[in-house]
Amino acid sequence: MTTTSTKLCTFFLDDQFFGIEVARVQEIIRYQQMTRVPLAPKTIGGLLSLRGQIVITIDLRERLGFPPRPEGRLPINVLVRSDGGIESLLVDDIGDVVEVDADTFEPPPRTLRGIARDMIRGVHKLDGRLLLLLDVNQVVSTKPTFENSPNEKE
């Protein structure tokens, strides 16, 4: 049983390596013009039209507490199927589909704290690098807290 393997769709944020179960990934599309949502939390990248469907994009950098994407660098949409529907994750770069064994897996170290803790299910120790397994449902469930109107007066 220890040899069960899963296929992960992988991608990068800066030089960090992340993975999501292939079954959760619907498709990957290049950057598209998005409709931004005023007053929405920063983690919401905007709204995307995908063949007649409106998809919320989540800026994974913001979500995981990374610094903003450098100017001029366009993100890539990873469309994932969460329990709530289809969302898009904005990532820097796409990696290969990687087959990982359960015995390379380890839960997140206790020292991992902050907001990422809930979203990272664990780590696959691969040759030469660590692959962080993301929990799609956690990643897409951003709380809808809205900013106050900017002219709520000084």
């Binding site: 709204l47 409106i54 709530g84 809808p144 900017p150 709520e152």
Partner: protein, 796 residues
Amino acid sequence: MDEMQEITREFLIESNDQVDEMDSILVELEKMPDSKELLSTIFRAIHTIKGSGGTLGFKNIERLSHAGENLLSVMRDGRVRMDTEIATWLLAMNDAIRCMLTSIETTGAEGPTRTQAVIDHLTMYANLAEGSKQAGRNATRKRSQAVVATPAGAGAGCVASLLDLEEPLRDAAEPLVDASDVTSVIEAALEVAEAASTVEQALELVATSSTDEASRPQQPVGSGVAVSEPDQEENSSSSLAAAKSTIRVDVNLLDNLMDLVGELVLTRNQILQLTSKVDEPTFLRTAQKLKFLTSNLQEGITKTRMQPIAMLWKKAPRLVRDLAAGCGGKKVKIEMSGAETELDKTILEAINDPLLHLLRNSVDHGIETPAMRIKRGKPETGTISLRAYHEGGQVNIEIRDDGEGIAFQRVKQKAVEQGFINAAQAASLSDQEALNLIFLPGLSTARAVTNVSGRGVGMDVVKTNIEKIGGTIAVRSEPGKGTSLNIKLPLTLAIVPALIVASGGEQFAIPQANLIELVRLEAEAASREIERIHGFPVYRRRGNLLPLVELNAELDLGSRSEGSLSIVVLQVDGDQFGVVVEEIYDTEEIVVKPLGPQLKGHPCFSGATILGSGHVALILDAWGLAKRAGSTADEESRSAVARDFGPLAAVNEVVESWLLFRVGTDGQLALPMSGISRLEKIDVKKVERSGHHEVVQYRGQIMPLVRIATALGIESASADPRSLQVIVYPKSGRDVGLVVDEILDIVQGQSLLDTRHVEHGVAGCAVIQDRVADLLDVNALLAAWEVAPQLSPVAA
């Protein structure tokens, strides 16, 4: 097997409909016991249930409906007359059938529903018509028992929930009945049942068991029924013919179709946008045809989802009947008009609970007891009227009762007691505003908490639910005369016409339901005609001040571009406000898509849509914008109450002659001419000092001078440093000189006083002949000023 399930499912749907229909007919029959037509209708319904139930092998349903059919048959022949008691038992039959239908749906079997009591009573009433001595005697005996048992029927609405309790009761009761010891049955039952309602149930059981034996031999006495059988067949076949022109469709299928049509509408919009770029006649013609067909298809599909509001209302008579009985024997009749008014299924479902809640309120709080009504000189029976009608692309629903109305004072008092507002706020509220307090979460005005209502959860939930689907609710009430609630709802939610606007480079859709008019301001007019009151933008529209919401600022879209602007005037809940946008495009039929859970509850957007261009546009929520506009304009001076109800328009009409003047660099002030005796220019050199005050000699008197700039705490900006512009203002028998910077004009005519921006020295804001001016509150200024002389020894 599958086919069987299909048939059963159809039976369930059909029978549920029929039971619902029977409910309302029964209530009506109570009022018109001799209506042959109603009796026939209800007879047909029960006959169908009996037939299909029997075919499918649901023996209990068959037996029960058979008993009901027997009774209805003799009633139709005029041998037994409808009365409240019979109605109660027939309603109990409906409830039992309903229970069994639910049970079939969930478990596949009729379940443990006990029907014997109902069957026995129905049979007993039917037998009242039979001449046989035996039957007659039994009937009389049973009739007396029925009186005992009736309360159980009155609580028939609860039968479903009591089912679980009934079973153990039955178990406890049966062995005792064999000993025919009625008293111990009750005792045993009491032990099992704790709630008062279950006691009724126990009584019912007692009645059942004691009549069990007597009624069984009488059941075959169906000879009278057999005679009328042929015409029953006829009746049911005629209703079958009517049924053939309609078919039942799964709602999911309709929803899917609606979605597909939505996509089609989007595609059509995209094609239509192409027509401006392509100059190919065949394409243009095809595009036109596509446009036409899509519209028709959309209309058609929308219609399939429309259902008459009668779907909801048919529950009302039964509900009101049971409630009235539960509220200390109130007498209530219900009137309906416009029951055929159609609404989208989704909306219908969404207003079901709010509507029932409002009805419950009307019966419980609204209608008085018969004694009280007579004392007040009203007819003994209260009336609740339901009215529905289409108006301006919306559906209006009105629930009106002629009960005691809502006592404004009590609402205020309760709101103060429960800490929603303070006493001062309460005193300043108008009657209508006080009435609106009932929508506050947690506020209850019921004298006592009853089973029916008064727990303080209610009107706020009703309001939120209605607003959620884009509707509005307003309450009007006249103490002692009655209350009316008006609900406005959109016809459909899925596809709505919307205006596409742009601001800050983004496009937004505004549903046309809220749209009143559009105003375009050219570039140079834009900066001039949008005026500010304490920083809040307003626009004079035909002499009235229209509060504005600047979309760029509100949504943080960056600063507005120079150039022409447009104001989109929206109406929400009777209040109008303008949204300032940079660009107005076309109107488009948009398909409303919900925002994901991540954006649910966004203060300004109610959904999103894909435009013809393929871009995603957010749908502006007029309600949310109004709320934000209201809360920002009111700031801290207003209580949470005011915020909840948007801007409170306290606009009073005043006709007068006005003096317009200027103090400081911007803005103008106004005073009514009636309060002013004259205007003077006074040389600065003539100003002398008396203690802390400046005075001048004027017409043989010493006239104190009040510098308005100083009093208002603003910088004076006089054009002429050598003389003072003075308004001579008589106050308590002597003149006071008000020093201003410049007299601008004297204008005559009507003005509107808007008291929303009250602050020190300013009584409000007025529009006088198209000019906005703050109205100077001289009395307040002087009162403040006069405190000073008492402090200093030198009085004027």
